[in-house]
């Protein structure tokens, strides 16, 4: 008996009704086929070696059929004052009454975008986030309905951020957030992808985000995962960069019982640049897994990556950072650093930088450290009167702040700094 196969089939229940668009039905049907052929990964799969996702299969998750009505005040805590546009999704369902768009560009529900931006959507959707061998991306694609569509027109620079807010309210709900972002040549966008919860029971978020940058486009992508304590959060994000475009990502993972973030960045043309920074701050029994792939496919691209994990309690952080430099990708300039702070004897981190270099004229630096708080730093603070706890909290906070400081949205940055400080102070 293959329970894993059976489990995915069970998840397929409650799919959206057939669309009038045949290409969409076809795409979903292809995805359903792949779901049927694939199984829930196990720790025997190289890619899931350190992350046992089997607790997911103990629950039966179903998609919500309608959005839970929420008072505006319920959204307020997560509001980003600077935002030019906001799309809110409640348990995966678009909530227009909480959304607004003052940006002057297309920021809309993907469900509407299927027809309003048919050409762009049809050309891009499912192109970057391949689901052939990825059961979770396939599942998400099988459920294609609501989601975020952003199209930034050529040469347009949107200074204010666009906020995509995904709120989990229902116990045992499955949601399949989907985002498609097209930054046309020469455009600029700041995007905040934000996962939050109003409850602490188990639920399942399975997100896919695709971002296509045209030549010279610039996208700053902030991703905040602050899901509920019992949540399962799986995300696949695929980004492609055209000539001389720039992609800067900051991902912060604070929530969920088990989270897995796959981020693939394809440097698909000369002169493209990316920076990918991440912070996981976890405790208790949490597991946070980040897998990244930076694919230097063409010459003269640069990539920077700083990934930090702060692990307390019996929590477990996983980082796998693959940097691929393909044959012919000369003058690649890449630097990766994985730094990890273990705050308890039972905390665990598995970090694996993975460089695959098939070109000879390249500059690739990488390093990984795992450590505890520095005794001399703690002592220095105590010698100035700070208590042991205050000293440790301050140092822990400082360790994480290096990543949070890179968030280009001031109000969100300040709020996250405060919540990281609060989270470090919760520890006894």
């Amino acid at each position: 008996m293959n329970t894993a196969t059976g489990y995915l089939d069970g998840l397929l229940q409650g799919q959206p009704p057939a669309s009038a668009l045949s290409w969409l039905n076809q795409l979903r049907a292809n995805a359903v086929d792949r779901v049927a052929a694939l199984t829930v990964p196990t720790t025997r799969d190289e890619d899931w070696r350190f992350t046992d996702i089997s607790p997911l299969t103990k629950f039966s998750f179903q998609p919500a059929q309608e959005a839970q009505p929420l008072a505006p005040a319920a959204i307020e805590p997560w509001a980003i004052g600077e935002a030019a546009a906001r799309l809110v999704f409640v348990d995966g369902i678009y909530a227009p009454q909480h959304s607004f768009n003052r940006s002057g560009i297309a920021v809309e529900n993907l469900g509407a975008g299927f027809t309003s931006h048919a050409a762009a959507v049809q050309a891009q959707l499912g192109r970057l986030a391949a689901f052939e061998r990825n059961a979770f991306a396939a599942l998400n694609t099988a459920f294609l309905h609501d989601g975020a569509l952003i199209v930034v027109p050529r040469e347009l620079a949107l200074a204010a951020p666009v906020h995509l807010l995904f709120i989990a309210t229902r116990k045992h709900a499955a949601s399949y957030p989907r985002c498609l972002i097209v930054a046309e040549p020469g455009s600029k966008l700041t995007l905040v992808e934000d996962y939050v919860a109003l409850q602490d029971e188990a639920y399942f978020t399975n997100a896919v985000t695709e971002i296509a940058l045209g030549a010279n486009a610039q996208v700053q992508h902030v991703r905040v995962q602050r899901d509920g304590a019992e949540a399962f959060h799986i995300a696949n994000c695929a980004v492609s960069l055209a000539r001389s475009s720039r992609y800067h990502a900051v991902s912060v993972a604070l929530g969920a019982r088990i989270s897995r973030h796959n981020l693939g960045v394809l440097l698909a043309a000369e002169g493209a640049e990316c920076s990918i920074d991440g912070l996981a701050l976890i405790g208790g029994r949490q597991l946070a897994d980040t897998h990244t792939l930076i694919d230097h496919a063409l010459p003269q691209c640069s990539s920077r990556q700083l990934h930090k994990c702060i692990v307390d309690g019996a929590a477990h952080a996983v980082f796998n950072g693959n940097i691929m430099v393909r044959a012919g990708a000369q003058r690649t300039d890449s630097a990766q650093s994985s730094r990890n702070l273990l705050l308890s004897g039972k905390a665990r981190v598995d970090t694996k930088p993975q460089l695959e270099i098939f070109a000879d004229d390249v500059k690739c630096a990488h390093g990984a450290t795992v450590g505890q708080l520095d005794v001399d730093e703690v002592f220095y603070l105590k010698s100035r009167g700070l208590s042991e706890t205050a000293a440790r909290n301050l140092l822990t906070y400082a360790f994480g702040a290096e990543v949070i400081e890179r968030i280009p949205v001031a109000s969100l940055r300040q709020r996250l700094e405060a919540s990281v400080l609060a989270q470090t102070e919760q520890r006894p």
Binding site: Y380, L381, S383, R384, G385, L386, S387, A391, L394, A398
Partner: protein
């Protein structure tokens, strides 16, 4: 300065301490009374910094014998942070860099912690900012150092000034300044020494660890001690520093040995 009605702030009796199982302090004796300035000199590796860190409570050092009384209490019963709050201040020979912690945040936390202990008002960030800028003026420190991470990328001299700034904020009863003069240029030495002199009064005391008599031109010591192999082997007035500068340390050791033989 030596005052008639002074009280004993620090009494160190037969102190022994080890690091990694090696005994470094071997019978340290020192009495410091309020109002006094003491200088401790001595060759590299004689245990001066070890002594300073033992007083501040660094966890790497294990006290294996003797006792230390500070302001009427047993020092070793207090955790390092409690010592700081009670008025012990160590100016580090090598101040620690703490990336990610803003100097202003650190200084305010330290200041407020000590203020609270003394039953005095804490300052909010704006009030503190005004207050600390005034103190920085005394030390001719650029306010830009508030926005930077604690000591990160500071030059040697800048770190030392930041130490004295902390001393100025915390107003300790006993300040142990471990080679605060090393790494200071001539102007900085004058400024830092001026700051220390301003902070010095009849209720507090200062222990200067130094290699150079030059500092003592600015901060006049009441006593000069020579430390060697974990003990104080000679104590004199400020003229001793001049003599050491001229003659080095060898003769002090020889004299101590001769004295020991004579008394045996």
């Amino acid at each position: 300065m030596i005052y008639q009605d002074s009280k004993t702030l620090l009494a160190v009796r037969d102190l022994h301490a080890s690091v990694n199982g090696t005994e470094i302090l071997k019978g340290m004796e020192l009495t410091v009374r309020s109002g006094e300035v003491h200088a401790i000199m001595g060759p590299n590796g004689s245990g001066k910094s070890t002594f300073a860190k033992v007083l501040a409570g660094h966890p790497a050092y294990v006290v294996t014998g003797g006792e230390v009384e500070f302001d009427g209490r047993s020092l070793f019963e207090l955790a390092p942070e409690a010592r700081a709050r009670a008025g012990v201040f160590l100016g580090f020979q090598y101040p620690i860099e703490i990336p990610g912690v803003a100097n202003s945040q650190f200084l305010r936390l330290a200041y407020n912690t000590v203020q609270a202990e003394r039953g005095k008002d804490e300052l909010d960030p704006l009030e503190f900012d005004d207050f600390v800028r005034e103190k920085m003026k005394l030390l001719e420190m650029n306010p830009d150092f508030l926005g930077r991470s604690v000591n990160e990328g500071f030059s040697g001299g800048e770190k030392k000034r930041n130490e004295i700034l902390q001393m100025a904020l915390l107003e300790p009863k006993l300040a142990i300044l471990d080679e605060t003069d090393s790494g200071l240029d001539i102007d900085a030495l004058r400024i830092v020494a001026g700051g220390v002199n301003q902070l010095s009064n009849k209720d507090n005391a200062i222990v200067l660890v130094t290699h150079y008599q030059r500092l003592l031109n600015y901060i006049a010591p009441d006593y000069v001690h020579v430390m060697e192999a974990g003990r104080i082997i000679k104590t004199g007035g400020k003229e001793l520093a001049l003599e050491l500068e001229a003659r080095g340390y060898d003769w002090v050791g020889a004299e101590a040995e001769a004295n020991a033989r004579a008394s045996a």
